[in-house]
C-alpha cells in the first residue's frame, strides 16, 4: 500500500500529522502526551492544524481522537483475549501487555480481527515474568478461539465425495487434511476448564475473588467448530492427539498407519485399537477434508 499519487500534498501532510498524534499512547489517566512528536507543546502545535471550538482548545479536540484510538484498540484486545485480560485485570493487561504490544504491532489491516495476530509471539519474545508459560499458553488459546471462529470451512469429507463411493478401499489412499478451524493443544494443566471457569465472570470480579483452580494434569485438546458452527473443545487421548495432528499437513490413512508403526509401542497399540472409531468420529464432526486448505 502506497500513497495515492493524486493525493493533494496538503492533505497528505495533515493526515500524517494527525496520525502521528492520535497513535501515541495516552497516559494512565487517558490524557494525551503534552509534548508533540517533534518536541513542541501540543497546546501550541495543535493550533497549526485545528481550530478551537467555543468550548475546547485545539489540543483538547484532537485528544478526543487520541483517546478513541486507544480505547477502541484496547477494547478489541480485551474481547479477543478474554482469559489473558482476566488473568491480569484491565489495568495491568493494558499497561503490561496491550500498550507495548500495540506500539510494536500497530494495526495495519482494515479488519480488527487481525489486531491480535502477533500477540502470542510478542508474549513469547517480550514477557519474562515467572508465570510466562501460563501467560503464553493463555494467549495462544484465546487467539485459537478467534482463528476457529473465523476459519474458512472446506467441504467436509463424506463418503459421497470419494471418487468411487462403492469402493471404500479408495479412502485409504486419499490425502486427508484437517479443517483450518481445528486447533490442537498439549498442556500439562487443564487450561481449557480453567478458561471456561474464568469466563463465567467479568474481569472486575477476579480482582476481588480467588482465581479458579488450575488442575495439574496432562491434557490433549481439540478446539473445533461444530457443524452447527459452535466453538467447542474436547479432551482426547495422547495417541489420538498425535494421530490427528499427523493429518495437519495432509496424509492418507495408509501413510498415517505406516507412521504409527514407527512410533513408540504404547502410542501404536492405543491408536491401532481405536483408529476406526476415531476416524468415524472425525468424519461425523466434519474435521477432515479432501481439499488442501490454503494457509
Amino acid at each position: 500500500m502506497s500513497f495515492d499519487p493524486s493525493a493533494p500534498a496538503k492533505l497528505k501532510k495533515s493526515q500524517k500529522w494527525f496520525a502521528s498524534i492520535i497513535t501515541r499512547p495516552i497516559d494512565e489517566d487517558s490524557r494525551m502526551n503534552p509534548i508533540s512528536p517533534v518536541g513542541e507543546l501540543m497546546e501550541e502545535e495543535a493550533w497549526d492544524y485545528i481550530r478551537p471550538s467555543h468550548t475546547l482548545r485545539p489540543a483538547q479536540r484532537i485528544e478526543i481522537y487520541n483517546q478513541q484510538y486507544w480505547w477502541r484498540l484496547l477494547s478489541i484486545l480485551h474481547e479477543t483475549f478474554p482469559l489473558l485480560t482476566r488473568l491480569f485485570g484491565y489495568h495491568d493487561f493494558n499497561q503490561s501487555i496491550a500498550f507495548p504490544y500495540l506500539q510494536k504491532y500497530p494495526p495495519n489491516h482494515w479488519s480488527l480481527n487481525e489486531l491480535g495476530i502477533h500477540l502470542p509471539k510478542w508474549i513469547a519474545e517480550n514477557y519474562h515474568r515467572s508465570d510466562k508459560s501460563l501467560i503464553k499458553d493463555s494467549a495462544e488459546i484465546d487467539w485459537a478461539y478467534n482463528r476457529t471462529f473465523l476459519a474458512r470451512e472446506y467441504p467436509p469429507l463424506n463418503i459421497g465425495s470419494l471418487p468411487n463411493p462403492q469402493d471404500l478401499s479408495g479412502l485409504l489412499e486419499c490425502t486427508l487434511y484437517l479443517q483450518r478451524s481445528i486447533n490442537l493443544f498439549a498442556f500439562n494443566y487443564d487450561l481449557f476448564t480453567f478458561r471456561d471457569n474464568f469466563l463465567k465472570h467479568e474481569p472486575e470480579y477476579w480482582i476481588e475473588n480467588d482465581f479458579p483452580d488450575l488442575g495439574k494434569t496432562n491434557q490433549w485438546v481439540v478446539l473445533y467448530r461444530s457443524p452447527r458452527k459452535d466453538l467447542l473443545w474436547e479432551s482426547i487421548s495422547e495417541s489420538e492427539y498425535h494421530l490427528i495432528n499427523y493429518f495437519q499437513a495432509g496424509a492418507s490413512i495408509e501413510e498415517a498407519c505406516q507412521w504409527l508403526e514407527e512410533q513408540k509401542n504404547e502410542l501404536y497399540t492405543a491408536a491401532s485399537e481405536n483408529i476406526h472409531t476415531w476416524l468415524q468420529g472425525w468424519v461425523i464432526k466434519q474435521w477432515l477434508t479432501l481439499e488442501k486448505p490454503k494457509d
Binding site: M1, P5, Q15, Y49, S53, Y65, P107, F149, L150, R152
Partner: protein
Amino acid sequence: MKEKHLPNLGIGLGLRIPHYEDIFRDKPDIDWFEIISENFMIDGGKPLEVLARIMDRYPVVLHGVSMSIGSSAALDWEYLKKLKALARFTKTPWISDHLCWGQLPGAHYHDLLPLPYTKEVIKYVAERARIVQDFLEVPFALENLSSYVAYQADEMSEWEFYSAVVEKADINMMLDVNNIYVSSRNHGFDPKEYYQNIPMERVLQIHIAGHTDHGDYVLDTHNNYVRDEVWKIYADVYAKTNGVSTLLEWDDDFVSFQQTWDEALKAKKFQQALHAKLKKPLKKQAVLQGCER
C-alpha cells in the same frame, strides 16, 4: 443524477451479536438489517453462517467503516474486491461507507477521521468515490460524520463539502441525523442550516442513533436511546426526502432486542405523519421487488 429506483426498505436495525439469539428464536417482523461489511468480509466461520440465516428472512444492506475514501493512501483494491464479493452474495441494494479517512500506507486507525473541507479535497475524494461506485456496480453512498475537530484549512462548511463531493462523484448520501446533531453541538452550527442545504434527492438512507453529552462536547456513542433533538431533525429530514429507508444503530451498552426495536419503531410516528400528509400508505411491496427478494 441517474434515476436509480432505490427502494424504501422501511425501518431497520444494525445487526449486532447480542441480538442474534432473539432474532433467530422469535423471527421478529423487522423490515431489514444493515450489517457492518467488514465483519463479514471473511473466508468463513460463524459470521457467514449467521449472515446466511439472516438473509433467508430479511433484506440485508452493507455499511462499511474501513474504505477510507478520503485517505491520501491509494485505494485498497483487495478490500474493494472482497466488498464487491460480499455485495454480490448479499444482493445489497446499495453500499455505504463514511466520508472520512482512517488509514495511511501501512497503518489503519480504525476510526472515522474527518477531512479538511477544501476544494482540492472535494476533487480528490469525488474522483475516488466515482471509481469505487463504478467498480462496485452497486449504488454507493457516503455518510456524514460526527466530528470533534475542525481544520484551520477548512474553506467551507461541512454540508457544502459533503454536497459537493456527492454531486461531483454522482453518488448518494447516507444521512446520519444524529451525526448532524453531534457535529452541530461540537462546531456550533444550526442543524437546520445543514439539512436545508444538501441535495435531499440524493439521500437514500437515514441513520438514527444515540449519543453521549459530555458538556464541552458530544460524542457519537450509539449506546443510548435517540434524543428528542435528533428525532426532531429526523422528522424534518424524512419529510424532505419523501420517505427513505431508516435505520437505528445501537452498538454499545445494549438493551434488550425488543427495547432496541421499539426505539427504532418510534420512527414510524414521523413517517405516518408524512404519509398522511401525502395521502400515501406506508407500503413495503415495492421495497421487496426492489430488493429482488
